[in-house]
Amino acid sequence: MKVEQISIFIENKSGRLAEVTRVLGEAGVNIRALSLADTSDFGILRLIVNKTDEAKAVLKSKGFTVNKTDVVAVEVPDRPLGLNSILEILDQGKVNVEYMYAFVERCGENAVIIFRFDNTDEAIQVLTQGGITILKGERIYNM
């Protein structure tokens, strides 16, 4: 039910993002989804890739600080109020969202939202009880 995400610490200076994508590309890693959170000094690049452990290992070997966290991928109908219905359920279940990002599936009618919760297991329970489809990791990695 959980999706593995890697995060990379990136200093705010030119060429660092390109360095990450180059390292991953040379290792044959494909990026499925990403989000970049930034402050004035640094950024955190969060990626979901087809080969999580390989990606983490190769980035680490190039001196990047990388960690792995569990996030939850949820399928959302690509129409008005699609996202809202999910957030309502989370709100009622008193689940906190740390951050989220979204992408639209290729040739699909659905969008995929990646959620990072403070309590992942509890969030999964709330979403499942609310009848929300949670995507398996494999589905995202192999999209």
């Binding site: 995060s7 610490f9 402050t39 000094d41 955190i44 600080t65 960690n67």
Partner: protein
């Protein structure tokens, strides 16, 4: 103008014979009264009687700041405490400060040398000296104060801080000479501009600035903004306090060191070898008239060179080139002494912080800034911004609590702080490049 015509213009050979005579007296005295020096001389296999010329000085061992700490608080005093009339100490915020004691005659000498310095800077009896150096354990305030009184000027004992009041007094009292740190002078200018106070309407003509490193570029800025002549003064509490050396207003080039009281040497900071005059290296000073706490070959850690060429002002005492840096790492940030090792000891207590760090000191809007760069490691890294910001806030707060200095914390990628084989380059002081 020269305050003490007789001594400030002595011919070179007279200065040198006076130095040898006073050096020998000092050596005999410390050998008799300070166990530390007696032991130092014994270990070096040299007796005071063997020192017969200035060249022989190099046979004596150096004295380091650490020696002062090891002999804290009074171990290096050469007279009984009953003869000490004043005690000052370095502003070390944690750990032991270095303590210096002055006899009545030392205070007299200091007043004389500060009076000479004021006159060299273009001040006269009749000037209103606005003394914004801190009064207290720090030598700046009282050192300048006694010199100003000796000169016969009217001294306003402002001490530091309270900028609005400083400006008001400057206007109302008609201050003609300003003494403070160079960075504070620019801060005064900035606040004055905000308040619509025009320095051109004030009576200030000279500023005597010291206690922190500054540059020619900064001099230009100060002179422009404060509409005065900016003079560089040098001193350190271990040797005396302010008034060890000062620029003359005639040349504004190099600081005359009062050679009838101090013997300057320049050494290679790595080998300790004495360098010829004119070459750049670490300044070593021997005091030859001090009674309370004489210093034999004290390593100042300040990098400079001796300018032997005669000066247009007529003083015969050699000049020191404007200090280009300190060879050890003590930083003075907004008047607070900060050792990188103190920051290190704060960082060590914080989990998930690498022992690799770098301090970037700069000057923004006329105030010293300190940036602490810390490497993020896997333990401290998180995919959440708030966790990393929490980490930098925590580091900032602990440094503030421990050292009393506000800093900016910048988290950087691992291995991006340059490693070195020997002593790590912990500090980049950009103030010196300005």
């Amino acid at each position: 103008m020269i305050w003490n015509d007789e001594f400030e213009t002595l011919p070179r050979e007279v200065i040198e014979s006076l130095q040898v005579k006073r050096l020998r007296q000092t050596l005999e005295r410390v050998n008799a009264t300070v166990p530390f020096y007696r032991e130092q001389f014994r270990k070096a296999g040299v007796t005071p009687e063997q020192i017969k010329s200035l060249d022989d000085l190099r046979r004596l061992p150096f004295t380091l700041k650490q020696d002062m700490r090891d002999n804290y608080p009074y171990g290096l005093f050469a007279v009984p405490l009953e003869q000490i009339v004043r005690i000052h100490a370095s502003s070390g915020t944690t750990g032991k400060p270095t303590v210096v004691g002055y006899t009545r005659r030392d205070i007299d000498t200091w007043s004389e040398l500060m009076a000479r310095s004021f006159v060299a800077a273009g001040a006269h009896k009749g000037d209103v000296i606005h003394n914004a150096y801190g009064y207290g354990l720090f030598t700046g305030g009282l050192g300048a104060h006694y010199g100003a009184e000796r000169l016969g000027a009217s001294v306003i004992p402002m001490s530091g801080g309270n900028t609005m009041k400083q400006l008001m007094i400057m206007q109302d009292f008609g201050s003609t000479v300003l003494t403070c740190t160079p960075s504070y002078s620019l801060y005064l200018a900035e606040v004055a501009a905000e308040e619509g106070i025009d320095f051109k309407a004030l009576k200030l003509k000279v500023g005597i600035f010291g206690a922190e490193p500054w540059s020619e570029q900064m001099r230009k800025e100060i002179e422009e903004k404060l509409n005065l002549k900016a003079i560089d003064i040098y001193g350190l509490s271990e040797i005396l306090g302010p008034g060890v050396a000062i620029e003359c207003i005639e040349a504004q080039k190099g600081l005359h060191i009062w050679e009838d009281h101090f013997i300057p040497e320049i050494i290679d900071p790595d080998s300790g070898e004495v360098l010829p005059w004119g070459e750049q290296g670490e300044l070593v000073i021997t005091t030859i008239t001090k009674e309370g706490i004489p210093m034999i070959r004290y390593r100042t850690r300040d990098i400079t060179r001796i300018i032997p060429e005669p000066c247009i002002c007529g003083r015969t005492h050699v000049r020191l080139e404007r200090m280009s840096g300190r060879s050890d790492d003590m930083l003075i940030i907004r008047g607070v002494n900060v050792f990188p090792s103190q920051i290190e000891s704060v960082l060590i207590t914080i989990e998930g912080v690498e022992p690799h760090y770098q301090l970037i000191v700069d000057r923004e809007e006329n105030l010293d800034t300190l940036e602490v760069q810390v490497e993020v490691n896997e333990q401290s890294f998180s995919d959440e911004i708030k966790v990393l910001q929490g980490l930098s806030n925590r580091i900032r707060k602990e440094i503030k609590d421990m050292l009393g200095v506000t800093c900016k914390v910048r988290l950087v990628e691992p291995k991006t702080i340059a490693r070195s084989e020997g002593k790590a380059k912990r500090v980049i002081d950009k103030r010196k490049e300005q």
